[in-house]
């Protein structure tokens, strides 16, 4: 079981952070194009889900999976979007993605970025502390192992 990579976007579609742990195949396009593609796809898929929903929608789009990987999506009310690609063994990662956004004990995005007045919101996150802590957090997840199952 493993985590392949993780994207964090802000409300304007700028990619704030990208982390990779276990990606065997690249997309074949530049990182910038990849971020745009990811953001654009999510925007469309969320709009699609809410339009086509046969019931009143509460949370909207959460995950999709293929035969090889699963994409988990989490969005805050302020438009911060966290996307994590894992292998198929991982159940719903919503709580984990919420943790990456917040928490009192690990406090990643909120603690290290929002509360740091020198970090300009909306730009690529340059805080080493944030990157390191995120990396440690992902590696410590129960379903993470350096080699994909």
């Amino acid at each position: 079981m493993t985590v392949h990579n993780l994207y964090i976007f802000d409300r304007n579609g700028s990619c704030l952070h990208y982390g990779e742990w276990n990606r065997k195949k690249q997309a074949g396009i530049s990182k910038e194009e990849e971020f745009k593609l990811m953001y654009g796809m999510l925007f469309s898929i969320r709009s699609f889900c809410s339009k086509m929903s046969p019931l009143d929608m509460k949370d909207g789009f959460l995950t999709f999976q293929t035969s090889k990987y699963k994409l988990h999506y989490y969005e805050t009310a302020t438009g911060i979007k966290i996307i994590m690609n894992t292998d198929l063994g991982v159940p719903n990662a919503k709580d984990i993605l919420h943790q990456i956004y917040s928490t009192v004990s690990m406090g990643l995005y909120v603690e290290y970025i929002v509360k740091n007045p020198l970090c300009v919101l909306g730009e690529q996150l340059s805080s080493d502390l944030f990157s390191t802590r995120l990396d440690l957090y992902i590696r410590a997840l129960p379903f993470f192992s350096p080699r994909a199952a």
């Binding site: 304007n12 925007f43 805050t76 917040s102 928490t103």
Partner: protein, 168 residues
């Protein structure tokens, strides 16, 4: 838990310094609103992280969350929500007490100073980040002789999420 007195004194020092720097109540009010706005746009993330409140369905729910969760979390008070306009787009928050103004009296030469104007900016900034444009102002202030402190909040519009500009 931070010391409430330190917070009140710090805020007082801030307003005093602004008064010295700008020498004009209206300008100070503007600066307080601006500073509040900058606080609000970041504070909302902390609030969402700690309270696990999801997106509000309508303005009434927003009002309740502001009064019962946000004010409680950050200032330790729970204002009451009243005076809804018939259209449901305006309401008042009545504050029985205001931690920012403990020990404060306004001198006569500062009668148009809105001492706690920072709060208006905070609310405006925070709500803007969750796609709501609002107007916030103090309609009554105990520091200026009124019986209660009242913040009036008006919903202007919902801000739509826009797709980032592509270059294709």
């Amino acid at each position: 838990m931070t010391n409430a007195e330190l917070f009140t004194l710090t805020y007082g020092a801030l307003v005093t310094q602004l008064c010295k720097d700008y020498e004009n109540d209206e300008e100070v009010n503007k600066q307080l609103d601006k500073m509040g706005y900058n606080i609000g746009v970041r504070l909302i993330e902390d609030f969402l992280a700690r309270s696990s409140v999801g997106r509000c369905q309508d303005f009434r729910e927003t009002a309740d969350v502001i009064a019962k969760v946000a004010f409680k979390m950050y200032l330790g008070i729970t204002p009451s929500v009243t005076n809804w306009s018939p259209a449901g787009d305006e309401f008042s928050l009545i504050l029985e007490s205001n931690p920012l103004v403990d020990f404060v009296e306004l001198p006569d030469n500062h009668s148009s100073l809105v001492y706690s104007n920072l709060l208006c900016g905070v609310l405006r900034g925070a709500l803007e980040m969750v796609q709501m444009a609002v107007e916030v102002k103090f309609s009554q202030d105990t520091l200026r002789g009124d019986n209660v402190t009242e913040i009036r909040m008006k919903f202007i519009k919902r801000m739509e999420e826009n797709l980032p500009a592509g270059d294709e």
